[in-house]
């Protein structure tokens, strides 16, 4: 006898019409709920995030169904992902049952849900149901018993967990009731393929047949009502993330990471810059608040939040959502607070880890732009001085621009103004030009290039700050002024390739300057040296050393350059001891986002926290690839009491010492 089960057993096919009506009503409630939210999102400025439709759909499907962004963080992520897949299987199974009952059987007169397939189907769905329940219990314990730091508990959390739990339990109870009346008696062998139902069925074995049938009917309707409740709750509770977070995977930007809208300074009709109100943001910025699930992963990673500064990326997203919904005319910057905005190092850890594709950093930058361009505000007087210095002398130190190339005295390189026949233009940057510690990096980079037979040119006193710190502080005007001068200069020398030893200069020249018309290829010295090694133009005599490596934010997270510097260091004889937070999970040194020119007055020192992570590896050497990081770590080693225990050096210094004779 081929096994199967009777669909709508004890309920009757007459239920199809009312069931459909109710289901469509629930769908209507969902649509209505989101329709009512549309005006909230539409308060934002327009932004095209529906171009390249196919790619967006593909990305969304892969993001959602793979759950890769969710289980990247195992805490909570594993439970969520397994629950999602289990629930998906249950949903698909229910859909299959529906198609079987209302399409395959009446129209095609075939029964898919029979025989061996039915057995497998039943087993898979039961296992999915059991897994979903186990995951829910895990999520429940995590949220209500373990209570991870910073995880808020709100009304929705109780509601959603109870609702999902009730749906799953009633599902098994219906199955159990049906099985108690049918296969547990008639075909116990088949019942083994429904382990969950078999277990639940034990509750019904002592019932009279009438009570059993009635219980089954009541449970069926209860289960159905709960499912309808689940659908109806989607737009009004955290469950909305099922749609909004998925949609955010569709709406996510295609621009290179770190791309910032370049303000058109020629347009003198614009009188408002940056964001001071909800309406100055884009619709996507507001939508992001609806996509946020308050998982607080951003907050856990934020170097500012974890060192006691008044910034939580999650809180900012929430505040935007609350203003958009409850007080659209409210002052955005007052709500978020200046201290929170200035605390951001733009390290991108929040955005990188966000499973909902929320764009935190540019919102902060837009608000900073408002503070800087509309209010002339600064995080501190020292920053105002540094910005003035950049205006006057093209560097934040206020040292004379005429001395910018002095570090290069006696080295084998060319000053572009005198001879521009070079293989690469080395864009030195302010720190390597003026800061004694970082001048060593510049000199060593030249030594490396010399050894590889590369003709290097520098702009010398003609070079100016790339503009990155001021841009990240919101001063788009000064950024564009200095950038324009650099670009004009570089273009005039017909440069073939630019190499920088600073990830901030690198990001700015390679990506941001494109918007202002610079098309020359730009490379960071770590990959450049790696290529020289690979192509055998540069040869090293390895000398063993143990090290830990700091991925600077703007090289790792922003530019995906993670392996190459390690390859170079390993080729130089290094054996790495990774810090827990490395690669994409690296922890900022504190100096990004223009913070390099600001004093760290709030909370504890980020650099000391990072130095602690480095000393915890036991390695005596910390290798960096960024002048800002090097500066912060030299400082952090001294103030954090790690002198004698840890030394920080730049990759170029390590390599130059090992050049083969």
């Amino acid at each position: 006898m081929e096994v199967a089960r009777e669909i709508y057993w004890n309920i009757g096919h007459g239920v199809v019409i009312p069931m459909c009506i109710l289901a469509f009503t629930a769908m209507g409630v969902i649509c209505w709920g989101f329709w009512k939210r549309l005006p909230i999102w539409r308060q934002g400025k327009p932004l095209n995030r529906i171009d390249r439709y196919d790619e967006r759909v593909k990305r969304m499907l892969s993001d959602v169904f793979s759950q890769s962004k969710i289980f990247r963080v195992t805490d909570g992520g594993i439970f969520h992902s397994v629950f999602f897949w289990s629930f998906l299987v249950l949903f698909a199974g229910t859909m299959l049952v529906m198609f079987q009952a209302d399409f395959f059987t009446p129209v095609l007169q075939v029964n898919l849900l029979s025989g061996e397939f039915y057995k497998g189907f039943s087993l898979v769905l039961d296992i999915a149901g059991i897994l979903a329940i186990v995951m829910l219990i895990g999520l429940f314990i995590r949220r209500f018993i373990i209570k991870p730091d910073g995880l808020e508990i709100v009304r929705d959390d109780y509601l959603v967990l109870q609702l999902l739990f009730a749906i799953l339990i009633t599902g098994f109870l219906i199955e159990g009731a049906r099985m108690a009346a049918t296969e547990m008696q008639q075909n116990p062998a088949l019942a083994l393929f429904s382990p969950g139902g078999l277990l639940a069925g034990q509750l019904f074995t002592t019932m009279t047949a009438d009570t059993l049938l009635l219980s089954h009917k009541v449970l069926w309707w209860l289960h159905f009502a709960l499912v309808l409740g689940f659908f109806c709750a989607i737009p009004y509770t955290k469950l909305r993330h099922i749609l909004t977070t998925s949609a955010n995977a569709f709406f996510a930007p295609f621009e290179p990471k770190g791309a910032i809208a370049t303000i058109n300074m020629e347009d003198d009709t614009v009188e408002q810059f940056g964001a001071a109100a909800i309406t100055d943001l884009t619709w996507k910025d507001i939508f992001d608040a609806d996509a946020c699930t308050s998982c607080k992963r951003c907050q856990d990673r934020c170097p500012a939040a974890t060192t006691g500064k008044p910034l939580s990326p999650m809180k900012i997203i929430k505040q935007i959502g609350e203003l958009a919904e409850g007080n659209p005319a409210g002052n955005l910057i007052e709500t978020v607070t200046q201290d929170a905005l200035w605390s951001c190092t733009t390290c991108r850890a929040c955005q990188d880890v966000c499973p909902a594709n929320i764009e935190h950093v540019n919102k902060i930058l837009e608000m900073r732009r408002n503070l800087t361009l509309m209010e002339g505000a600064f995080p501190g007087d020292e920053v105002k001085t540094a910005v003035n210095n950049i205006e006057v002398n093209g560097n934040p130190f206020g040292l004379t621009f005429a001395a910018r190339g002095d570090w290069a005295e006696g080295l084998d390189l060319k000053i572009m103004g005198q001879d521009s026949d070079v293989d690469i233009l080395y864009f030195v940057g302010c720190y390597a030009s003026f800061d004694r510690r970082n001048q060593s990096v510049a000199r060593n980079f030249i030594i490396i290039c010399n050894a590889a037979g590369i003709k290097v040119g520098i702009l010398g006193k003609e070079e100016k700050c790339c503009g990155e710190p001021v841009r990240k502080l919101g001063n788009e005007y000064l950024y564009q002024m200095t950038a324009a001068e650099n670009i004009e200069l570089i273009k005039a020398y017909d440069v073939k390739k630019i190499v920088t030893a600073c990830p901030h200069c690198f990001n700015t020249l390679a990506r941001d300057y494109k918007d202002l018309g610079l098309e020359v290829p730009v490379e960071h010295y770590t990959t450049y040296i790696n290529t020289l090694l690979q192509s055998d133009r540069l040869r090293l005599t390895p000398e063993a050393f143990s090290y830990t490596y700091h991925d600077s934010c703007y090289l790792g997270r922003y530019m995906d350059i993670i392996e190459q510097p390690r390859a170079v260091l390993n080729q130089a004889g290094g054996s790495i001891r990774e810090m827990d937070k490395n690669g994409y999970d690296s922890f900022c040194c504190s100096a990004g986002g223009g913070r390099i020119i600001a004093e760290e007055k709030l909370g504890s020192k980020i650099s000391e926290v990072r130095i602690k992570m480095a000393t915890d590896t036991g390695a005596p050497l910390l290798v960096s690839n960024c002048p800002f990081c090097l500066t912060m770590f030299e400082d952090g080693i001294k103030t954090g009491g790690a002198e004698g225990q840890l030394q920080v050096r730049d990759l170029a210094e390590i390599v130059a010492e090992r050049i083969a004779a």
């Binding site: 361009l373 209010e375 002339g376 600064f378 105002k384 006057v392 206020g398 005429a402 001395a403």
Partner: protein, 258 residues
């Protein structure tokens, strides 16, 4: 109400100064220029008064010098000045304070300015004479080194900084001239809309010959770095020996042990 603020563009003090070929002033190669620091306080105070007085008030900024001084004028306009005058003079640096003051007063004499603001002194020449001389030439009241400024109905109440940190309060009736000192205010950073607006404001250019009829009274005869005296000495070695060396030096070169 009419206000005037006089500004000078000076080299950044971090620059490397070299005497020019005549040896009477600095060579401008490799110098970065900016607004004289004290003049920034003057502009800020003038703008604050302008904002307080509202629409009936008009603030003019004036600067004397070559074309590069337009940058400083633009900054003043972006900070909030209404009008600008550029007295074109490519040889301004060779003029003495009397001549500079005469140019300003020649411009201001028939304009009826109620308050004139200047910096206490310039960061490069540092004569501190221009402001007071202008007041004298115009025959108006003047006070210097102002660190506090209140204007009320034709009367200025100013706080002055004297030697040793002592403060003095003075009252003077307009028309008057004040020279501004560090501590008076914190100059604002121009906002972008104001920078944009400033770009459209007209800068009236006046050739210096139209305003100057005075000969210099004090000519600069030489501009040179101070003669190198003996540099510092770094002593190294055993502490006992170091003590002996220090005592020997103190005996030899100073009077403290005699």
């Amino acid at each position: 109400m009419k206000l005037l603020v006089c500004i000078k563009q000076v080299p950044d003090l971090e620059s490397r100064f070299k005497p020019n070929s005549e040896g009477v002033w600095y060579n401008e190669t490799d110098l970065a220029f900016r607004m004289n620091e004290y003049d920034e306080y003057a502009v800020e105070q003038a703008v604050q008064l302008r904002e307080k007085m509202g629409d009936g008030c008009e603030l003019t900024v004036l600067s004397i010098g070559p074309d590069r001084v337009v940058e400083a004028i633009k900054k003043s306009l972006a900070m909030g000045c209404d009008n600008a005058v550029h007295v074109q003079d490519s040889a301004a640096s060779s003029k003495d304070p009397w001549q500079i003051a005469s140019i300003i007063s020649a411009y201001a004499k028939d304009k009826g300015f109620d308050v004139i603001f200047t910096g206490m002194q310039s960061q490069d020449r540092g004569s501190a004479q221009v402001g007071v001389t202008v007041a004298e030439q115009l025959g108006i009241a003047c006070t210097t080194t102002v660190v506090g400024f209140v204007y009320d109905n034709g009367t200025i109440t100013a706080r002055r900084e004297l030697e040793g940190g002592i403060k003095a309060a003075v009252k003077l009736n307009t028309p008057a001239l004040v020279t501004c000192q560090l501590g008076l205010n914190i100059p604002r950073y121009p906002t972008l809309p104001n920078i944009m607006k400033a770009k459209k404001k007209e800068i009236v250019a006046i050739p210096v010959a139209d305003l100057l009829n005075e000969a210099p009274l004090a000519a600069t005869t030489s501009f040179h770095p101070p003669a190198k005296k003996g540099g510092g000495i770094v002593l190294e070695g055993d502490v006992g020996e170091l003590v002996d060396k220090v005592i020997a030096i103190l005996k030899d070169k100073t009077a403290v042990l005699r």
